[in-house]
Symmetry: C2
Subunit: 336 residues, 2 copies
């Protein structure tokens, strides 16, 4: 930086000021300094800067699984509001690995980011590792903080499950199945609770839980075989805990006599996975609004960064919404 100062024929402090307090520097000298910066290819050392100021203008987000478009949406939302506040967002991927998640958190902590957003692996696996961060502001995304120690934003999973089941019931379906598991995934358990609540509110409607070992397409295909074995007419409505599950089941069932989708069996998925609308039969789904969750989470983090540790740690709940498509509406649905 002193090179720049010499090259521009100004004082070192003036160089610093043109970068940080441009209004304290006259138009003319500012341009001289910037010319020198460009000429020398000077790049300010952010490590030294944040050492000196004790602050940083970047925030980090730790994502459970980048392969899941839901998390990418969260990151995109967080990035948008971070930029609005003049901050940068950097991402670390835990890749469904608890050890990597811890490393990523430490990484951000040690590099003294202004704050961190954490979209952790599913709750059941995390509970217990209560103390996540002490000094750095931390906001949880898609995870309900137990202790109230952290601010956060979560989706109302139960509401989503309720909406899904209620949609099918509204279409006249009475013999429902809920596809999903394992139940130690709290999101799945809550979605099931919501579906049960909808059924309980509608006399004459039944719901059976078909537990799966996971939420991916192969699990859906496996469950599809089970449903097939139960015989046509056993169910006339299917709530799947994920879009992938729904697609897998549809791949097996649709076309088989007595299992036409949606005539014999109306299907609703969950997540609004990006390809759900492009699969063999576009899947009705529950959208969790990942991008909005990211925006809100980043906003909570900004509050905390500015407000200090006294800021109240609120948890914002985002309501998911139904997006009906062909798998439940049939020909009544049309693309766009």
């Amino acid at each position: 930086m002193s090179d720049v100062a010499r090259h521009a024929g100004v004082a070192l402090g003036t160089v610093s000021n043109t970068m940080n307090n441009p209004d304290k520097v006259s138009e003319a000298t500012r341009r001289k300094v910037q010319a020198a910066i460009a000429e020398l290819g000077f790049i300010r050392n952010d490590a030294a800067r944040s050492l000196a100021t004790g602050t940083s203008s970047t925030i980090g987000i730790v994502l459970a699984d980048l392969s899941n478009s839901f998390f990418v949406d969260i990151a995109r939302g967080a990035d948008a509001t971070a930029r609005q506040h003049g901050m940068n967002l950097i991402i670390a991927n835990s890749d469904v690995d608890l050890a990597k998640q811890s490393m990523n958190i430490s990484l951000f902590e040690e590099s003294r980011v202004a704050g961190v957003l954490l979209a952790p692996l599913d709750t059941a696996y995390v509970r217990g590792s209560a103390t996540l961060l002490r000094s750095t502001p931390l906001v949880l995304v898609n995870f309900a903080a137990e202790s109230g120690h952290y601010a956060g934003v979560v989706a109302d999973e139960e509401h989503g499950g309720y909406e899904a089941a209620q949609h099918l019931i509204g279409l006249g379906r009475t013999r429902l199945a809920f596809l999903g598991g394992p139940l130690l995934l709290t999101a799945v358990a809550q979605r099931l609770e919501g579906a049960r609540a909808a059924v309980a509110a509608n006399p004459g409607v039944t719901l059976e839980h078909i537990e799966t070992r996971g939420l991916n397409i192969p699990h859906g295909r496996h469950a599809g075989q089970d449903i097939l074995a139960r015989g046509a007419g056993t169910f006339d409505g299917l709530v799947a805990a994920s879009d992938l599950l729904a697609v897998g089941a549809i791949q097996i069932l649709d076309g088989k006599p007595g299992f036409d989708v949606p005539t014999d069996l109306a299907v609703v998925g969950y997540d609004n996975n990006h390809f759900a609308s492009e699969s063999a039969i576009p899947v009705s789904t529950i959208s969790q609004h990942g991008e909005e969750m990211g925006r809100v989470a980043a906003q909570l983090l900004m509050n905390e960064i500015q407000g200090g540790p006294t800021t109240i740690k609120q948890t914002v709940v985002i309501k998911p919404d139904l997006i009906p498509r062909r798998s439940s509406l049939g020909d009544a649905w049309r693309r766009d």
Copy 2:
């Protein structure tokens, strides 16, 4: 850190050593120090550390579009080899925005990462911004550096296009169409070249280019309408420049008389998009091996970080591979 030293009853230098040169410290004192660290919740300040050493153990990757699973694969591959070398990988998303891309590069440059990987927006839009980085080692992914100033890893797009067309020709198809555009996307242009080369090598086979305005599903649907208008039998094989394009076209064409896929029209896509195997008709595709590209790119970067600026800037070419599925093989194909 001096707090830790006092708390453990050792010298400041010893604390530094237990973290950086554990072998220079006796077992006993090392444990004392670590206990103090845990007790005080001490977190080493990486900004100060990298200021003092002039080095960093994290590398950054700037990705053109996180929504595209190809880039996520690249990041995953890079992360794997970075960890093998004891380094951390942080990600910044350009979100198909040139301005964000520049900001992200500067961000990493200023934070003095050990090196950066850049998977940039398509070449045509980037050419000209020749000087990307001076001081920080930089390796390009999925982009052919013109000047030889940067190391890089790219896919052999022409080979991919050749393979796709050759696959159809091998199946006895003779009236091919190539779907894709705009041609100022160099990847598309090169894939088309490859397809043309395959056709030229096989007398009696023809290929017509149907230009699209983009590579997404709606563009594919639009092109599908065009093909439909041309009448049944005009084409018997279709090479699409992306899986999304292929899916869109199939959505329109399959089922229409004379357009059964693959009987009347065999289709090959490109990218091995994660959902390509789960669409209405699983799409044959060309896989670019994103994860391997990421691994190789990170390895090149490691070489450069260790070897200094004298390291030769090589460009590694990864050959894409055909993954045949139902859209070209028909019933001969079985899942897995």
